[in-house]
Symmetry: C3
Amino acid sequence: MKSFEFLLPDRISKPRDSGLTMVLDKGLGLKNAESLMEISGEYVDLLKFGWGTSILHDKDLIKDKVKMYQSFNIKTFTGGTLFELACLNNKIDEVFEESKSIGFDAIEISNGSIDMGEDDKLSFIKEAKNNGFFVLSEVGKKNITKDKSISLDERIDAIKEEINAGSDLVIMEGRESGKSIGIYDDTGEVKLDVVNSIIDKIDVNNILWEAPNKNQQVNLVLNIGQNVNLGNISTTDITSVESIRRGLRGDTVGKV
Amino acid sequence: MKSFEFLLPDRISKPRDSGLTMVLDKGLGLKNAESLMEISGEYVDLLKFGWGTSILHDKDLIKDKVKMYQSFNIKTFTGGTLFELACLNNKIDEVFEESKSIGFDAIEISNGSIDMGEDDKLSFIKEAKNNGFFVLSEVGKKNITKDKSISLDERIDAIKEEINAGSDLVIMEGRESGKSIGIYDDTGEVKLDVVNSIIDKIDVNNILWEAPNKNQQVNLVLNIGQNVNLGNISTTDITSVESIRRGLRGDTVGKV
Amino acid sequence: MKSFEFLLPDRISKPRDSGLTMVLDKGLGLKNAESLMEISGEYVDLLKFGWGTSILHDKDLIKDKVKMYQSFNIKTFTGGTLFELACLNNKIDEVFEESKSIGFDAIEISNGSIDMGEDDKLSFIKEAKNNGFFVLSEVGKKNITKDKSISLDERIDAIKEEINAGSDLVIMEGRESGKSIGIYDDTGEVKLDVVNSIIDKIDVNNILWEAPNKNQQVNLVLNIGQNVNLGNISTTDITSVESIRRGLRGDTVGKV
């Protein structure tokens, strides 16, 4: 039972196909992460071990963290940069194997930092599906200039093709900073016209928007709805994001 | 005994009527919070379970967190948004009951997000006092435009009336961001002329200034004194704020 | 064994004379810090108990934290502000004694907040060496105006003299904010011409650059190399910094 449960508005519960919250773990200790999940794990659907961080950590410890997160019904995966490093080093099969051996449920396939042709990316998505993973693919470039060179039509086409290739969720790049990238302008505000153009052409439930900052979470919830898929949520903001979705924080009280 | 105790300047100790530090908990796990209190709990007077976050958390866990904080002589309460939600849902009596049943010492009454007349607010303050709570009431609107429409005289009158109605502490709204609101300008700097006009008319010990950012904490300490009441302090900044108060951080060395 | 170890690029390991990471602890609880070290302690060389924070904490608890960090082969020390407070209070010998009694390995000597002549500073450095400490000395003023009044030549001369006096590492002031100070401009960007002028005259391994923000860490790694010494790293960024050094994060993939 929740405290003040008579004030709790309903929301679809896990496992769910929309309203997903993906959290970014930058290297939490096991016990610290466990204490956090004990209070708020039910509000996390997907947990990303950020970029290549897990390469730096003890394998047994990562196994224990994966198991712990899964005990809260959370899907775990490594950041897209790890897959790009595999690509650069011709170790893609090894990454599929190691991910399974550690126990990861999902895999993220991106080309934000390296040159990877769209055809290659689509075949990697298929290969990941064939290996039994829940697949997230990411559209966007981490370099601001390169990211700005992608036209809106190209972005939409890429999303469509990746969904067709088997991607379960297409991530819209937002980085950890949330500025000057994808749907965000240089001050980190959401470019709603771009968002609207995208969801005009694509089922919004197939998209997960990286939204590291509060104003972004609020704007996406107010404009798309409480069950918008949000990603790159900081480990310190898990409860805050759920409160924004349910109208329990000032910014969305009475508006969702 | 403290380490380097011969360098420790005195400050009034808990329980105290001024120099209060109110900390904002956005959803810490119990064990993480306990470890933090073991090192710095003596520097926390009041602990707010931010806005409506506690509605999302397990009741037994919240009871345990409340007990844990109280074991460090800290008063606990839920955010003003929770009370506003109660108001919207006609559940005010239920909130008083549930707060007692969980063990909260205090209650915050605000009208930052909803339309609540000043008369209603004053009677809620009285009702909360009659229910035995330590009462904090908050003056200010979370919406920037609405907040700017409150004149300085209106702000001062509201503070006076709420104190007369029984409010133990009047909180000056600063939000979690500390920008474009109340005593802060658009860059988050303290508007000292506004602060001075307020404390010219009101006993400064009755006011608790939400001051989430370091420059705000430093400026308020330098201008009002080490025993200014500060609120919305991040859980990561508890020791920092105490060091600012005692002249143990660069910004206030030799100045307090 | 690491997870995805086949993707891990080598880097010189601890104990090392370059490529040092110095982390800023603002008051972590013992158990929280321990959980963090269990996953990432091998990437920390030096741990600073920030400014005067340890004066506020229980001596036995600080002893336990020091021991815990040392069990991960990390050198511990108190912030320069603590030494400056000792200076103001004529308690320098007492600080040497107390530091030894608690178990600190190192000591930081700075004059960022108080007026301390360069000659006095040099003799304190010698005294600290004679007391058996690993010595870090810091060049720069915490006050922006005062810091800007130091010419580049004066800065370089001070670094040279402090190294000659026995300083093991000279810290370039960056504060916790990383703006408008030392090598950083008002937006927090690295002034590469200043950096280059300094390392043109001084062995870069003798310098530790405070670099609290990600863009600073990335720029220093890209311009000086993966084994640049970095300081004032937040406890939440330990793994991130190591991933930047090794090319495991988007910003440095394929570039180090």
